[in-house]
Symmetry: C2
Subunit: 155 residues, 2 copies
């Protein structure tokens, strides 16, 4: 039987102001994202896809070919990061790249047939996963959460 150890706690000490880490939004958001992310990986992990990789494929599915930079903004990733994700997806032949003829700076990213087939298979799974993550909340609460998170993210 597992034992959730609570060992080694020292007696309370120090100034002990009213501060609690739990009251900081950033900490709560990080934990909630951890939960959502692990829910997703549980379900799509067998396809060897991470959450950011999934989001990248989903975006391409929604929008069609996109420049690497715009794709990164649409999945909220820095240029240096989206680059690595695209490289991995490209290595697996889930996306293909080509130069933009009219703007030599741009690299256009697009789903391959294999990538399209995969994301079409995964989307229903992720929708189910979202439902699981939201299970602790009632319908009206979910709507509220979306509204609040959206306003936080958009600043």
């Amino acid at each position: 039987m597992p034992r959730t150890s609570t060992k080694a706690a020292a007696p309370a000490r120090r100034l002990a102001s009213d501060y609690r880490l739990e009251d900081q939004v950033g900490f709560l958001l990080r934990r909630a994202y951890q939960r959502a992310s692990s829910n997703l990986v549980e379900r799509i992990g067998s396809y060897d896809l991470t959450a950011p990789q999934y989001a990248t494929l989903a975006r391409l599915y929604e929008r069609g070919a996109l420049s690497q930079n715009l794709l990164g903004r649409l999945v909220a990733m820095e240029p240096a990061n989206i680059r690595d994700v695209v490289l991995r997806l490209k290595k697996r032949r889930l996306v293909a790249t080509r130069r933009d003829p009219t703007d030599k700076r741009l690299i256009l990213i697009d789903l391959t047939a294999a990538g399209t087939a995969l994301i079409e298979q995964l989307i229903p799974i992720e929708i189910e996963c979202t439902a699981t993550t939201l299970a602790p909340l009632k319908a009206n609460e979910r709507k509220q959460l979306y509204d609040l998170l959206g306003r936080l993210a958009d600043g």
Copy 2:
């Protein structure tokens, strides 16, 4: 003047089910956390501290000496990750480590005087930062967000 490029968007195509990435909690949570985290780094970055490092110091300040493993659980980090954070904080003499006499498996982590002084200086800054992050929300909405996030994270 910066130009937010929206180039290279291909015409809408494919099955175009009703799926939208924005409707997935995980994506919203990730973006909201990015925002909160960058708000924090903006303010405490000059102290060369990251959000997880801050959380670690704050936890130690709240609870006193903790085993590395328990500390990790209390800041929501895997054993392998909290280890690295502790090593960095230890290298900067913000925390100190010692063996637990009664359980040879445990390493007890505690704030040094310097670590205590630093976190006491930072806590007010972070409280202010939380306020900034929550600025888009009204008081009752903040309370609601906390409730909803807490229930999500705890499953």
